[in-house]
């Protein structure tokens, strides 16, 4: 039996669904929809109504029997759960192709994620700006992060430089790392690591494309072992 005042851990499966709830509620809000039931959400999101109610009840009782959920209120609650009610300072480490592309993208700012600096080792890049965001030498990184209370470091560096950078970052006040390198980062548990392993994603796609052919092959093997009469 759960004790009052005890918090049960929310499963990763639930957490991964929260952004979907948030974004769809945002759409409904923009369409001036006032209320929504778990069943209506179910139809568009593709999760069962039961699951949606279970998910939300991990964080509180946001609905009302016979009415459903107030769109605006639920949207606000989920934004708080996701920490989107406060803004976050980000820095990009590595001003290569991907680092520059992320710096140029303005979509993160909409949700309060502000990129305030970029760091690189390349002297041809240091001193320049990307969309008003200055590129500083990587030696200044630790000092800058602590001085500016930076929340998130975006890692877009080559994999052989990752270990060294992670070591340096681990000594700062940084709260989270958004990791675009293929390296598995081991760091103290106070710093959250979120991985975007693009190559894994591409391999998964490749698996599914290949799946049909694979099953053919497995089937043939099995037929050899158990020939049909």
């Amino acid at each position: 039996m759960e004790q009052p005042g005890e918090i049960k851990k929310v499963s990763m499966a639930v957490i991964k669904r929260l952004p979907k709830y948030y974004q769809h509620l945002g759409n409904l809000l923009r369409d001036n929809v006032e209320r929504v039931s778990s069943q209506e959400l179910s139809k568009i999101l593709g999760f069962t109504a039961s699951q949606i109610r279970q998910d939300l009840n991990n964080f509180g009782e946001f609905g009302q029997q016979g009415y459903g959920y107030n769109v605006s209120q639920l949207y606000t609650e989920i934004s708080k759960i996701l920490g989107l009610n406060t803004s976050h300072k980000m820095v990009i480490i590595g001003a290569g192709n991907l680092g520059q592309a992320l710096a140029k993208y303005t979509g993160f700012g909409i949700y309060g994620f502000d990129i305030i600096a970029i760091f690189d080792t390349n002297p041809n890049l240091v001193g320049r700006e990307i969309r008003d965001i200055p590129i500083y030498p990587v030696e200044d990184m630790e000092y800058f992060i602590n001085e500016n209370d930076v929340d998130i470091a975006v890692l877009t560096i080559p994999k052989d430089k990752t270990k060294k950078i992670v070591k340096a970052i681990s000594k700062t006040c940084i709260r989270g790392i958004w990791n675009f390198t293929p390296v598995e980062i081991k760091i103290n548990e106070n710093i959250i690591v979120e991985n975007v392993h693009l190559i894994d994603s591409l391999f998964t796609l490749s698996y599914h494309i290949n799946e049909g052919m694979l099953q053919e092959r497995l089937l043939k093997q099995k037929r050899k072992i158990f020939p049909s009469p």
Copy 2:
């Protein structure tokens, strides 16, 4: 009871672990390691030995009692399962920041994913090249895909253009879509969609950063309802 010749569906959880197996086996191979046990794999990958054996047995019997797995052989098998034994033709739709960054990146080619064209509507970009990859007008997309037997379309377009592009792509011989737009793509089931929803990933990171504070707040609420004696 499973019938011979019947294929049981492999769960998504297993599929998502395959790239990790593949990459670590690649490392072992490069280090000239000849054999590896499920227990040794377990230590580095962080999955249980039991799970690793279960996972691999979805696809065949690759090990040998008392010996373990032959690194080179298992690596080859998993590369076949992931479809990495054949090369794949890719096109990038949308030569914006992200599209260009992906085009410049040479890391996909190593695994046989070859970007052979980029498509865009911007007349300032059309006709140019990125790393020898030509940028064509988007009108030529369908013809090009069919003519060149393109396997994968990488979507790096603004969200309001996605629906139209997806409709056009769905008429081609394309096998998979690597979707970097925030749009949920509905398409016929023969075309596989793999999503890279960056903003979801960032929100998940934000959730975890915020988690500590969130729990404090929930705890206080509960204490009000069940005050300590």
